[in-house]
Every structure is written in structure tokens, then in C-alpha cells.
Amino acid sequence: MGQTLVYGILNGSLYGIIALGIALVFGIMKYLNLAQGTLIILGAYIGLYLSQLGLDPFLSIPVVMVALFLFAAVLFKTCFSRLINFDEEEKIKNSLLISFGLMLFLDNLITVIWTSDERSITPAYSGITFELFGLRIPLIGLAGALLAVILILLLHLFLTRTYFGQSVVAVSQDQEAASLMGVNVSLTFLTSFAISVSIASIPSMLIALQSFSPTVGLHWFNKGIVVVILSGIGNIYGVLPAGLFLGIIEALSVYIFGPSYREVTGLAVFVLILILVPKGLFRRRGAA
């Protein structure tokens, strides 16, 4: 039981970071990026390529981050920039559709380049665990959880302490007013999108250390969107607790119903929440 919870919490922090990228785009830009999961998998393949060159997975995170940042910037310029001035509902709908097409495109492009085999990166330390209060804790999972916490702190500092971060918050609150106050909205959008995709480099690496194949992107996007809805749309501080919540629920369901219904439980919770409490569980007043 305790061991199950440990895995639940570690998985949950992974869900939290995946959700962070989606929540950032959704909260600030009102874009729903269905391709986020696929971009995570793309990052995993870049990481695989780097590890074949001999780079340690954790050291390759910054490289993958830069690669995804540039890729996302190009993607935004070519596909998403025309939606900037749409009203909110049209923005969500069109970005959802465009990213849906992109997801299919990228999934199959990845299959063509890397074949559909299941891959994973296994450095020497991948099996290491240590004991704490009689519970086994895997080293990589713990590192992932720490990265999640650091990432959210950094993002918080970025949004509250830097000029650019403040302009991001301004755009998320009122795009038109921000634009009138001299904020460069399209640059803010471009950068926010690229940042939120580059955040995917951390889940990329954590997933690459488990296992991945070209078409699992949607599966990971689903984990992310469940957490986003749980935490309340656009609330980036809610994603970690909501991620842990989902991780623990899944772990409990494995404990009770067995592993084959793990996915179903998470999704069922998600649908129930969409129907019953559409505003999310961890909503904070005045959160960005």
C-alpha cells in the first residue's frame, strides 16, 4: 500500500509537469494544444538520438529544451500565429483542430523516421532505488519529482519577478488592454508557446527513461489535460497538487481493481469532474 502510494506520487509529479506545459498555453493564450504529448515524444526521440551519441539523459535535457523551443517557435509562426486575434471560443476551437492535425502529422512523421518500435533509454543508474522508512524509492522518479518542484518555482519567479513575465500575465488577463499598454502581444504569444513546449523536455526525458513509441503522445496528453482540468483552467500553481492527486488515484485503483483499469480510472474521474465541477478542484482566486 505504502509502496503503491510512493509510485503514485512519483508518477503524479510527472503528470504535473506534463500538465504545466498545457496549462501555460491554455491559461495565457487560450490555445488548446493537443499535440503537446506528441511534442514530448518528439523530445524523447531527440534524447534517444543524443544518448546514442553518448550524452547522459539528464544532461541532454537542456539540449532537448533548446531544440523544442526552436521547433515550437517555427510551429507557432507557421500554424498558430493567425489565431492571435480570434475571440476566446474560436481560439480554443481552431487551435484544437490545428493541433489535432499536427498531432497526426508528427506522430506519423516520427514513425517514418524512427519506426514504430518501442524504445527506451537505459543508463547505468536506471534501476537504482534506495530505502526510506522501509519503502523503495527509485532514483529517477525522485529526480523527476524534484525537477517538477524546481520548474514550478522557476516559472513562478519568471512570471512575477521579470518584466517579460509580467507582460505574459498582463496578456493572459486582458489581451486588448495589454496591447494598448504597449505589450507586444504576438511576441509574448510566440515566447509563451515556445516556453511551454520547451518545458516538455523534462517529461520527455522521464518518459524516455521508461519506454515510448511514436503514437503514445496522445496518451500522455490525456494525463496532462486531466490534470489541467482538475487544477482549474490556467491555474499553474494547481498542476502539481492536481498531478499528485491523479497519480495517487491511479495508484489506488491499481491496488483495488488491478493494473488494467489504471487508465480508465483517471479518465473516468476526468469525465466526472468535467460534468460535475467544470471549474476544477484546486482553483485559487486570482491565480494567473
Binding site: 476551437k93 481552431n94 502529422f105 506522430d107 514513425t111
Partner: protein
């Protein structure tokens, strides 16, 4: 439909109806059955996605339930046509129980919510029926491809006709009004929720019939196969690419999808999906009314151009 269009359509249908007589090639007949299946699925999706404006990414759940119910009922010894209807009703029942709560979600969450439902259905059915279902030897001995062909053809015509009539009925017009401006439609007394429910029920019933055709056509398949998400993505792609909220759009899209997937069938990966994904993005960005609007646009451009030529000629004569 204009009366002058009816004759070519009937001729085309007659030619299609003669296919099993003209050819014995199983390949061609199976391709045609797949084409009917795509049309049924796309046209039924078009009702909820195109005419009602609710982009569902969970159509595979209805398709799959239709396949599952039809297969089980048919294999229990009941003739296939009642089994097919049972499948349609099963899909509509699923829509009643889980689809209607989804319609309460605001527009952005409907696609994600239905996607989640489709995934739940796929995993659950995969867990309950882990083994593929095969036909017993007596069913295999009685297997006759042209009966599959005609049944699929009939259901295809039924689906297109239903969507056509529904779209032109008072309810269909109300649906389009709700899609275009829900507030205004509600203000003049059109009840948005009721109309959306009706569209979802009719749409899921027809998707269930499509699933039944799938179950009738295939000798052996995993029960979770018709629940795969590709069956939810397919009608979204074909309808968007052909033309959302038009009758011929989903048919054009299905032809294009089938042609492309046959063209690339021997290649690594699913290149047709790669092409379709890219086309889909371009269509959403630049041609939101689909390829159908392109043909309409070209036709009206040509007509204008011809009229101008004639007009200029007449002016010269004078």
C-alpha cells in the same frame, strides 16, 4: 437537390449496385465496402460535428458498440438485419447514457470529454474481451461477399439520405441556427440542448449501424479493434477535408482518404495519415469550408468569367 441532379445520382448508384455482378475481385468489393463504411461513419459524424457544430473526437465509441452488439446478437443466431438494428440502438443507448452529459460541457471541453470517453470504451472492451472473436465454421461456410456489399451499400444510402432529409427539415435548420449563434437561436425559441441531443442520438444510431457493417464484414478481429481511436479521427478528417456541414463533403473526403491510404498501403508507417494530418491543418487554416467549397468557388468563378465573356461579346455585337 435539384431535379436535374437526381438522374446522374441514380445512374451512379445503379453502376455501384452492379459492381458485384461486374467483378468477382474480392479486393475491389472489399475496398467498396470500406468506402461505404467510411461514408456511413463520416456522414453520421457530419450530423453532430458539421451541422450541430459539436466536434466529437469520440465517435469510435458508438461505432465500436454498434460492432460489438451486432456481432454478439448475430452470432447468437439472429438474422443479420435485426442484429444490425440492435447495434444501432446499442450505440444510441450509449449516447443517451454518456453522450448527453458530455453535451453539457462547453464547446472547448466537448472534444476532449468525448475523446476521454472513447479511450475509456477502448480500454474497457479490450480488458473484457482480450481475445479476437472469430466466426464459427458454419458462418464462414455461409460467408458471401456480395451480401456484405449490398448491406453496406443500403446502409450507406440510408445514412446519406437520413442526413440529407434531417438537414433540410425544420429540426435541421434549427440545428444550424444553434451552431451559428446559440444565443440568438435560443432567443427566438429554438431549444439548443434538445436539438443537440436529437442530433447526437441520430448520429450515434447511424455510427452504430456502421459498426454493425464492420462486424458483419470481418471474419476475425479483436473486439476492441472497432473501438480504436482511428475510427474517431477518420470521420473528423474526412468531413473537415471534404466540407463540414455539407452532404457531399464527407463523401469527397472518404474517397480522398481511401485513395490515399491505398496508394501508400505498402509504405512504412501510415503515410496517408501524415498527408491527411498536414492537409487537415491547411484546410482548417485556409479553407474552413473544405474542398467542397473549392469546387463551388471554382465553378462560380468560371460562371462569372463565362458570363463576362458572353456579356462582352453581346456588347460588341451591339
Amino acid at each position: 437537390m435539384h431535379s436535374r441532379k437526381i438522374i446522374p445520382v441514380i445512374l451512379l448508384l445503379a453502376v455501384i449496385a452492379l459492381f458485384p455482378v461486374m467483378t468477382r475481385s474480392e479486393y475491389i468489393l472489399n475496398i467498396m465496402i470500406t468506402f461505404f463504411l467510411y461514408v456511413i461513419l463520416s456522414e453520421s459524424w457530419n450530423l453532430i460535428g458539421g451541422f450541430a457544430g459539436q466536434i466529437s473526437l469520440g465517435h469510435s465509441a458508438f461505432f465500436g458498440i454498434g460492432a460489438l452488439v451486432t456481432r454478439l446478437v448475430w452470432l447468437s443466431g439472429i438474422p443479420v438485419i435485426p442484429a444490425l438494428f440492435a447495434g444501432g440502438i446499442g450505440a444510441a443507448a450509449l449516447a443517451c447514457s454518456v453522450g448527453i452529459p458530455c453535451l453539457r460541457m462547453t464547446q472547448a471541453y466537448f472534444p476532449i470529454g468525448t475523446l476521454a470517453l472513447a479511450m475509456i470504451a477502448q480500454i474497457t472492451i479490450g480488458n473484457i474481451f482480450p481475445l479476437p472473436g472469430s466466426l464459427s465454421s458454419e458462418y464462414v461456410a455461409a460467408y458471401n461477399l456480395s451480401s456484405r456489399y449490398y448491406l453496406a451499400f443500403a446502409v450507406g444510402i440510408f445514412t446519406v439520405l437520413t442526413v440529407y432529409l434531417f438537414a433540410r427539415s425544420k429540426k435541421g435548420l434549427a440545428l444550424v441556427a444553434i451552431r451559428d449563434d446559440e444565443g440568438a437561436a435560443a432567443a427566438v425559441g429554438v431549444k439548443p440542448f434538445q436539438h443537440k441531443i436529437l442530433a447526437l442520438l441520430v448520429s450515434s444510431f447511424m455510427a452504430g449501424l456502421g459498426g454493425g457493417i464492420f462486424a458483419y464484414q470481418h471474419v476475425s478481429y479483436f473486439y476492441s479493434a472497432p473501438f480504436e481511436l482511428s475510427w474517431a479521427f477518420l470521420p473528423t478528417l474526412t468531413t473537415f477535408i471534404g466540407g463540414l456541414g455539407t452532404i457531399s463533403g464527407p463523401i469527397i473526403g472518404s474517397v480522398a482518404f481511401l485513395a490515399l491510404s491505398e496508394l501508400f498501403v505498402l509504405n512504412l508507417g501510415e503515410i496517408h495519415l501524415l498527408v491527411f494530418g498536414a492537409t487537415f491543418v491547411l484546410i482548417v487554416m485556409f479553407l474552413p469550408k473544405g474542398l467542397f467549397s473549392l469546387s463551388v468557388g471554382i465553378r462560380s468563378f468560371l460562371r462569372d468569367w463565362a458570363l463576362r465573356l458572353i456579356g462582352r461579346g453581346e456588347a460588341k455585337k451591339l
